[in-house]
Symmetry: C2
Subunit: 475 residues, 2 copies
C-alpha cells in the first residue's frame, strides 16, 4: 500500500497503473483481460451513469434491456460488421450440459440483436423516431489489455435509434455527440475535439462515425466516445421497415452511440499527478473529506464533534462531503485521501479548534489555506467551481501547447515523435493514411468540425487536399 507512485517523467504507463492502485480503483481479475472495478472506481462510473442518463432522458431516450447472447448468424448479416467484430467475439458452444445447435456470441455491441427486435417494433412513420438506450456489459476479446482503457469485458451505454430520414438520423447522431462533448468538458473537465472519423477508422457497418478525442498528458490521443450515422446498412440487413405518410414501405435510418468505462482511464490520465488521482468535483462522489486529527485520546471527541458539525454545514451548502472517522496516524490519513483524488481535504485538529479555523487543502494545486469556521461551507462550495474550471483550463492549455500545424513531412514526423497533436493536410487517400501509420504510428484521430476547409497538399503524398485533419498516436 505504501508503494511509491512512479513519476510521470520516469514511466508514464507505470505511473497510470500506480495511480489506479494507490487510489484503489481497479485491479486485474483472475480472468485474463477482465478487471475488477473496486468501490472507488465504480463510484465514478455510477456518477457518470447518473449524469448521462438524465441527459438522455431529457432528450426523450428511453432505457431498455436486450439479451447478452446473440445468435452467431445475426452477426454475419451485415458484411462489414461481421468482418469488424467476428475476430474478437467470445462464443458459447455449450449450455445446460448440452452442445448448442447454433453457437451464441457474447455481445461485443448490440446492433444486430436490437435491430432484429426493432424490425418488430416499427411499422409506421408514427413509430419514429424510436430512441432507445441500454446500460450493459460487453465482451471483446482483446490481446493486450490495460485497466479501464482496454479490457476484455467493459461496461458501457449503447444508444440505438431509428428515424424516417437520413437527415433526421444524422442530426440525431450529431446531437448525441454534442451531449458527449458537454459531458466530457463540463462534467469531466476534459477538453475534447469533436469530428468525423476517416473511413478506415469508421465503426464496422456505419455510414459515418463521429467522435470526440482528448489529449492525455503524454500527448497521446484517447477516443472518448463515438456516435454513428448507420445509414440504412443495418435496416437492410435486418429488414427494419416502416410505412411512410404515403403508405410506401421504406427502410429506417439509424444511429448508435456509446461511451464506456474507458472514460475513467481518460479521466485519470488527464488530471492526475505524481501524488495520485485528481478528480474534478462534478464527477467526485465525495467532493470534500473532513479529516479530524488528534494526538491524544482525550482530544478525539472534540475534533470529531466539530467535524460532524462542519459536515452538516457542507451538506447543506450542496457539497458532497464525508468525515474520516478512522483511527490512524494523521499523516497517513491525509495521504490516503490525497491519493484518492478528493478535490478538497479539510483538516481539523485541537489547535485549529482553539483558533476557530480549519486547514483546507486543494487537490488540484496542493495549495493550503486557513478558513474560519463560519466561512467553510460557503468557501468550499465556491472552491468546487474554481477547481472544476482550473482542471479544465489546465488540460486545455496542455492541449494547446502540444498541438502544432505541420506543413511538411519532416516537421510532421518530428512533431509526432515529440508526442504532439498534429494538424496537417490529407487528401482523403486511405493508402496514404495507412503508410503514415506504418511510418510514424500516428493515425487520423478525426477530421475536426472546427477546422474550416482550406486548400493545401497532403503532408505525406503532396496530393491536393481540401482539409486539415488531426494526427496523433493514440491509446
Amino acid at each position: 500500500m505504501a508503494k511509491r507512485i512512479t513519476l510521470r517523467s520516469e514511466d508514464y504507463s507505470q505511473w497510470y497503473l500506480d495511480v489506479i492502485a494507490a487510489a484503489d480503483m481497479a485491479e486485474h481479475s483472475p480472468v485474463k483481460g477482465c478487471m475488477v472495478i473496486k468501490p472507488h472506481g465504480y463510484a465514478i462510473w455510477e456518477m457518470m451513469q447518473k449524469i448521462l442518463d438524465l441527459k438522455f432522458k431529457e432528450i426523450g431516450v428511453e432505457n431498455a434491456y436486450f439479451p447478452l447472447l446473440i445468435p452467431q448468424s445475426f452477426l454475419s448479416r451485415e458484411a462489414e460488421h461481421v468482418e469488424g467484430f467476428a475476430p474478437e467475439v467470445a462464443t458459447v458452444t455449450h449450455a445446460g450440459g448440452k452442445k448448442l445447435e447454433e453457437p451464441l456470441v457474447i455481445r461485443p455491441t448490440s446492433e444486430t440483436i436490437i435491430y432484429e427486435v426493432f424490425s418488430n417494433w416499427i411499422h409506421s412513420y408514427r413509430d419514429l423516431p424510436l430512441l432507445i438506450n441500454q446500460w450493459a456489459n460487453v465482451v471483446r476479446w482483446e490481446m493486450r489489455t490495460r485497466l479501464f482503457l482496454r479490457t476484455t469485458e467493459f461496461l458501457w451505454q449503447e444508444g440505438h435509434t431509428a428515424h424516417a430520414t437520413h437527415d433526421d438520423a444524422d442530426a440525431f447522431a450529431r446531437k448525441m455527440l454534442d451531449v458527449y462533448v458537454d459531458f466530457a468538458e463540463n462534467t469531466l473537465a476534459v477538453p475534447v475535439i469533436p469530428g468525423q472519423k476517416s473511413d478506415s477508422e469508421r465503426f464496422a457497418g456505419a455510414l459515418r462515425t463521429y467522435c470526440i478525442e482528448a489529449m492525455m498528458q503524454d500527448g497521446k490521443a484517447l477516443q472518448f466516445g463515438t456516435s454513428h450515422n448507420l445509414g440504412q446498412n443495418f435496416a437492410e440487413a435486418f429488414k427494419v421497415k416502416f410505412s411512410d405518410e404515403n403508405n410506401v414501405e421504406q427502410f429506417v435510418w439509424q444511429t448508435s452511440w456509446g461511451v464506456s468505462t474507458r472514460m475513467i482511464g481518460g479521466l485519470i490520465m488527464t488530471h492526475s499527478d505524481d501524488q495520485g488521482l485528481v478528480l474534478p468535483p462534478r464527477i467526485a462522489a465525495v467532493q470534500a473529506v473532513i479529516i479530524p486529527l488528534w494526538f491524544k485520546d482525550e482530544e478525539k471527541a472534540t475534533v470529531i464533534e466539530k467535524a460532524q458539525s462542519l459536515l452538516a454545514e457542507l451538506t447543506a451548502a450542496g457539497v458532497r462531503a464525508k468525515v474520516d472517522l478512522r483511527d490512524g496516524r494523521p499523516g497517513e490519513k491525509l495521504f490516503h485521501w490525497e491519493k484518492k483524488g478528493i478535490p478538497v481535504r479539510i483538516e481539523i485538529g485541537p489547535k485549529d479548534i482553539a483558533a476557530g479555523e480549519v486547514v483546507v487543502a486543494r487537490r488540484d494545486t496542493s495549495e493550503k489555506q486557513r478558513m474560519a469556521f463560519v466561512d467553510v461551507a460557503t468557501q468550499v462550495a465556491g472552491l468546487m467551481e474554481t477547481i472544476q474550471q482550473n482542471l479544465f483550463d489546465r488540460a486545455a492549455k496542455h492541449r494547446a501547447d502540444n498541438t502544432v500545424v505541420a506543413t511538411n513531412w519532416d516537421d510532421f514526423v518530428a512533431a509526432i515523435e515529440a508526442g504532439k497533436f498534429v494538424l496537417a493536410h490529407w487528401s482523403g487517400d486511405a493508402l496514404d493514411e495507412k503508410k503514415i501509420k506504418t511510418e510514424t504510428n500516428a493515425t487520423i484521430r478525426c477530421i475536426p468540425f472546427s477546422e474550416a476547409p482550406s486548400e493545401g497538399t497532403c503532408v505525406f503524398s503532396s496530393k491536393p487536399s481540401t482539409q486539415r485533419v488531426i494526427f496523433a498516436r493514440n491509446y
Copy 2:
C-alpha cells in the same frame, strides 16, 4: 395491440402474459429463454434499483463490479455449489478465434469469482466487515422460461459480505432480509413472509438460507428474495482468511443476498387486474398522467395549456406526473394508460375547463371523482398514499383469506388443491418433504420467523414436530 386481456378466472397464466403485452413491458427475444425488457418494464427495474441502492448505501454497502466470466474450475471448489449450478451454466469454449485452454462459464451467481478476489483484499480483522454489492446480469440455462419469473438471463443485485464471526454474519444476513421485507411491503405493497428455507431448498453452498415469500392472486407462492448465511464454506474453498486481534489466522464468515427482475413478475401478479397492469405509486416512474381530451381542433390549445399548468402543480407537490400530448381518440388514450397501470389518470376536456374541474380516475379501484382545479395537486398527492395502502391491504387480505392451518393429511391435500398457503407441522425429515412434494406438488416455502415453536405431529408422517411451516405450490 387491441387484443383483449384474458380474464384471470379463465386462464391465470395467459392473463399474466396478456398483462405484460398490453402494458408493453417485455417480450420474448430471438434468443431462446432470454427476454427483451421494454421501456415500461425497465422503468420499474430502474425504480427498484434506485430505492434499494440507497438502502444498501445507508447500511454501508459499497458497489463494485466483477467479471461476467468465471473459470470453470472455480465453480468446482465448493462441492455443493458446483452440484447446484453446474447443470445450468452456459460455457464459453472459444474466444478471439481460438479454443480456450480452460473453458469459462457465464456467471450464474458470483460467489466463486468474488471470494477468490476477497482472499486478496482481506488480511486483518481491520478489513472486516467487508460489505460489497454488484448490479449485474447472470445466466442460468432454464428449460422452461416465463417472462420476468424465470428467464435464462436476468438482472439482479448480489451482495457479498465477509465478517469476523458467525454471529456477525448471521445478523447481517438477517438485516438484509429485513431490508427486502421493508422494500417488498412498503415500496412494492407486496406482503411477504420472512423465514428460513428447509435444507433441501437451501442455496447450494450455504449454511442457512433466509427468504421472503409472497402469495400471488392464484394462491401460488413466489420467492421474492433470499439472504444466505454462507458460514465458512466458501471461505475454506477460496482461502479467505484474516488475522484476528490475537494475530491468529481465521477463515471469514460470509453472507450473500439478492433480488432480481423476477420481483417485477411478482409485482404484476400481486396487484394487476382484468384491465391490465396495476402499479403501486411508490414504484411507478409515472404516478399520474394528465390526459387532455379534445374533439375539435380549436379546443386542443386550451386543454393542453391547462394540462401543462396542472403538471407544474403536481410536480411541485412531489407527484411524478406527465401529460399525454399524443393525438388520438380520447377513449384509446384513456385505455392506453389504464393498461399501463398508472396509479392515477386525470382527464381534462373542454367541458371540464368550463366547470373548473377535472375527472380523476384511480387505477386500483377504477373509481372516478371530480376535483376542482385548486384541489388537484394536494388531493392527488394524498391519493398516492391511499392507493399504496389500499394495494397492500388488499393483497394482505387475499393472503389471510387463503391461508389455512391443516392438522391432518386430507385437509392438507384439499387446501393445497384449492390453492391455499397451508401452515402445518413437519418433523424436519427431508424424505417426508420430498414425498409431500411428489404427492401434492407443494413445497415448504419457509419456516416462518413469526411462527412460535409448538408441539405437534407431522401432517404427513405423524412424526413428532416442534414447528409449523408453510407449504404451497410455487412459481
